[in-house]
């Protein structure tokens, strides 16, 4: 496919990578503003309570202290910290500071001082009395009648959705079609099991940071490690009461996000302090603060009841999810709906289906957006059910799935029934490479040779398992992206876009798309991304949207510019537009005369029909073509210790025509490894008071080079007609495979079902010994 194109489909290193490798690029904390003030937060060590008094007199007098912020002197605007389209689908249930604390890590106050050390020292002088209330840590108990209510202060949803804070329910969804009862009656076997996944931290290597200063004219400049600069500007404006025109948000290099930086919870505090003191402010969270006070992956309990016939037909599927929103509910509705919306269309022949789910408030850390966004939790459960169904009817997992997964030209009723917290958008699948993914992945992992063989090596027994998944490409009919392109007289172009490269390589991909449309080389593009003063609106880097949605905006925009170039060239060459040939930044007429892009731009700037060759475009998607993946785990289980030794994992992904295979592979590999360590080791260990006891990268275990198994990445060869040069998304999908593939492989090896992550040796050992 890539032969047709000169840019799209070619591997290039990221345009910022050499500067990053040389240590030249700047992250938020690297900007040196004139002597900023620093902020330290006072966090609650009580999981649920009412602040009865705060005495901060002594702290106020302490060395270097400039200001203390708490609920008594800050705006009490209810809002959500979720960086989503406006009005957000997440309830307005939090204040900058509140009279109530709702989890260990909730913020009570902020001290602003000359140095961080002074601010930190002053925290100890603040005397807080908290009237402790019974705390809720268990999602099942939280919805019991008579449980204490966590939110009872006018919290409200910004859009019309089910919200029942009086029952600790932050979101609720029930949807479906067909007749479940009839479906279950037709079944020969009913598989009814409950699964759960745990809390997790994004662990972006750069902790959250924000740096605020005033420009020469007194406007507030917020440099911040964010995925959503435009949402930052809006939320800061609303919460702090500062006009939009006085706020400029700049996103510099960002050290990873994975959803964690789709959240706006530091910027408003820094902005308010700066605005009041008319001073620069800096906040850089410690790793511990990231763990305890930033956002997490929603822990979820999923019960699936599936009716299967002897021939493998699934007659009914009933999914009931209970999700832990934590103390506040950013993304509580949309992550929950995605656990159905991104999962259930995959097996689209099911006629009787119900998806019901509730997001529940508890007194634990706050859930949020996290790569995979509910689909990860949904696929963990579904793939094990599918493995069981295939085994029941005597079919190989791969063959079973190939026969029954959604194909090009097909649709699913789930698309319409369930969207981002509301009804969805009807769509037909145009490209689907899942069968190819299954075949190539199976071959790479030697499926035929290893499946069911239980090869033994001392205490270790080997098994292979598989899992399949899909995701989406942006949020249709909601999210919008835009860009601006202008031409320079050396034939280079400025591409300004609000799309937010957080290490994903989107600046590079977008340059490749623009260059393809402009028939030039991507190295001619000067990309500027994410500055609310100079780059146009983009919802931000989330929902796997940039390649598809911003990519389409860029393509449209570049084609407009291309048209202007042709017009000018036709005038210069005295030839009809349609007779011109364009190649490699040159336009030639039939008689062999040629003008170069640089000359064309100069002609328009200085000579005739004078104008700046430029264009802008906005794009809203009407569908969200899913990428697909099939993943395979090859592992051994040590039956003496319960340890899982992962030998290899193969991830085959259909992301449409990969615009930059090198970077697409990188997205897959990073997501796969995150999925592996989430399946095996990552966990929040809470004590009985709801305090996380392992908030550091020593005890919260993510994988290093030695832990990491061989990862085999395969990109399928498909082409999505609605995508820019055939592309679909690739950012999130690969995280959905490892946990179920590993669980299915463990079953293949030793016949135990691991339905609760993480798969620690203790858990495995216990199940082995219960057999």
């Amino acid at each position: 496919m890539s032969e047709k194109f000169t840019n799209a489909g070619h591997s290039h290193s990221k345009i910022d990578s050499i500067a990053l490798a040389c240590g030249n690029e700047k992250y938020t904390d690297d900007f040196m503003t004139d002597t900023p003030l620093h902020i330290a937060f006072l966090y609650s060590d009580i999981a649920n309570g009412i602040i009865s008094s705060i005495d901060y007199k002594a702290a106020e007098q302490a060395d270097g202290v400039k200001l203390i912020l708490y609920h008594g002197n800050t705006p009490d605007t209810l809002h959500t910290t979720a960086g989503q389209g406006y009005p957000e689908p997440s309830p307005y249930d939090c204040r900058m500071f509140d009279k109530k604390v709702r989890f260990v890590g909730d913020r009570i106050a902020a001290v602003v001082a000359d140095t961080y050390k002074q601010a930190e020292a002053a925290l100890k002088l603040i005397k807080v009395e908290i009237e402790q209330l019974p705390a809720l840590f268990d999602i099942e108990k939280a919805i019991d009648a008579g449980s204490p209510v966590i939110h009872s202060d006018d919290e409200y949803p910004a859009i019309p959705v089910t919200y029942k804070p009086e029952e600790n329910i932050a979101a609720e969804i029930v949807t479906g079609f067909g007749d479940l009862e009839k479906g279950f009656k037709q079944a020969d076997l009913i598989i009814d099991e409950t699964y759960s996944m745990q809390y997790a931290s994004h662990c972006a290597t750069e902790p959250h940071a924000v740096s605020v200063h005033f420009d020469e004219r007194g406007r507030l400049v917020i440099i911040t490690a964010t995925q959503v600069p435009y949402h930052v500007r809006r939320i800061v404006s609303i919460v702090c009461g500062i006009e939009i025109k006085n706020i400029r948000v700049i996103k510099p290099r960002v050290g990873g996000g994975f959803g964690g930086k789709q959240e706006v919870f530091l910027e408003q505090v820094a902005a308010l302090a700066a605005w009041r003191l008319k001073r620069s402010i800096k906040i850089v969270l410690s790793r511990k603060e990231v763990f305890i006070s930033a956002r997490t992956r929603h822990a979820m309990r999923s019960r699936i009841k599936m009716g299967v016939q002897k021939d493998g037909t699934i007659t009914a599927l009933d999914v009931d999810d209970l999700m832990n929103a934590g103390a506040y509910a950013p993304h509580a509705l949309t992550v929950l709906s995605n656990a159905g919306a991104k999962v259930l269309p995959l097996f689209n022949k099911i006629e009787n289906l119900r998806f019901s789910g509730r997001s529940v408030y508890t007194n634990l850390p706050v859930g949020g957006a996290y790569r995979g966004y509910g689909a990860t939790q949904g696929y963990f459960a579904l793939n094990q059910h599918i493995d069981e169904a295939a085994r029941y009817c005597g079919e190989d997992f791969c063959e079973y799935v190939k026969k029954r997964h959604i194909k090009s030209g097909e649709t699913s009723r789930v698309f319409e029934a369930l969207g981002e917290g509301k009804e969805g958008v009807r769509q037909f699948i145009k490209s689907c490479g899942l069968t190819e993914c299954i075949d190539r992945g199976a071959k790479a992992i030697e499926w035929e040779k290893l499946r069911g063989k239980k090869l033994r090596n001392g205490n270790r027994i080997r098994g292979v398992g598989a899992a399949v998944a899909m995701q989406g490409s942006g949020i249709p009919e909601i999210d919008m992206a835009s860009c601006h392109i202008k031409m320079n007289e050396d034939g280079s172009f400025n591409l300004n876009t609000g799309a937010t490269d957080i290490g994903t390589g989107s600046d590079t991909i977008l340059a490749q798309i623009a260059a393809e449309a402009l028939k030039t080389d991507y190295s001619k593009m000067i990309v500027l991304s994410s500055d609310t003063d100079t780059t146009p609106f983009d919802t931000g880097a989330y929902a796997s949207s940039t390649t598809y949605i911003t990519g389409n905006a860029v393509k449209q925009c570049a084609l407009k510019v291309y048209d202007l170039i042709l017009k000018a060239a036709s005038e210069m060459l005295g030839a009809d537009k349609n007779e011109l040939k364009v190649e490699d930044s040159k336009v030639s007429s039939r008689d062999g005369r040629t003008v170069e892009y640089g000359e064309i731009c100069a002609f328009r700037l200085y000579t005739s029909g004078q104008l700046q060759i430029q264009a802008s475009s906005s794009f809203v998607a009407h569908e969200s073509p899913p990428p697909f993946t099939a993943q395979f785990a090859d592992l051994e289980v040590d039956i003496e210790t319960g340890e899982i030794i992962l030998n290899r994992i193969a991830a085959a992904v259909d992301c449409g025509h990969p615009l930059n295979p090198l970077l697409a592979e990188g997205q897959v590999e990073g997501a796969v490894l995150n999925g592996i360590s989430y399946a095996l080791t990552e966990d929040y260990i809470f004590n009985s008071n709801g305090r996380m006891t392992n908030p550091d990268l020593g005890r919260y275990k993510i994988f290093n080079t030695v832990d990491t198994p061989e990862i085999i990445t395969i990109l399928a060869d498909t082409y999505e007609d609605t995508g820019p040069y055939g592309a679909k998304s690739v950012g999130e999908i690969a995280l959905n495979g490892p946990a179920p593939a590993i669980a299915n492989a463990v079953y293949d090896a030793v016949g135990i079902r691991l339905r609760h992550t993480p798969f620690t040796p203790e858990k495995v050992w216990k199940l082995l010994n219960e057999q």
């Binding site: 910022d16 050499i18 972006a204 750069e206 990873g256 410690s286 790793r287 995150n674 290093n704």
Partner: protein, 161 residues
């Protein structure tokens, strides 16, 4: 505040004199003095984003007291090469796709540098062991391992000319 120390270092080949608080980590002192290419990912010695080379050995600068490193010779990633003339390791990381968000990259590159100085031809195991203190959340390490191998080859070639 009253017992500040004056210390000398040689950083990236340049003599410098800093006034420091004896309690501060080398990471803090370096960053406060503009060496922001040394990154702060955890301050607990668990991530490797803050790796520098101190007197020939890689250290997590967040775990080293600045005072104890006085008179030391320190290399940050900027010692290796710059944007106009990058070091083969820096080129290899960029070309292999080993740089995503880039936050771990300076640390990865310095650990690679220390490895390759001793061993031009490391096998996969050597590489994994040498880089096991450098956490990367973006890449799954696949392309980082490839970058180190490529860097080894590039450095060998450069030696042969």
């Amino acid at each position: 505040m009253n017992n500040l120390l004056i210390v000398n270092y040689v950083i990236n080949g340049k003599d410098v004199v800093f006034t420091i608080n004896p309690k501060d980590s080398l990471l803090k002192v370096l960053r406060d003095n503009g060496y922001t290419e040394v990154h702060n990912g955890c301050q607990t010695g668990d991530c490797g984003a803050c790796v520098v080379i101190l007197n020939g050995r890689t250290v997590n600068s967040c775990m080293v007291l600045a005072a104890s490193a006085k008179d030391g010779e320190i290399l940050t990633v900027k010692a290796l090469g710059d944007i106009h003339n990058p070091h083969p390791i820096q080129r290899a990381f960029a070309e292999s796709g080993a740089v995503q968000c880039g936050f771990c990259t300076p640390g990865q590159i310095l650990s690679t540098y220390a490895l390759l100085l001793e061993n031009h031809d490391p096998d996969e195991k050597d590489i994994r062991r040498a880089l096991d203190g450098n956490i990367c959340r973006c890449t799954g390490y696949v392309k980082i391992l490839e970058a180190v191998k490529l860097a080894g080859r590039l450095m060998k070639e450069a030696e042969h000319v």
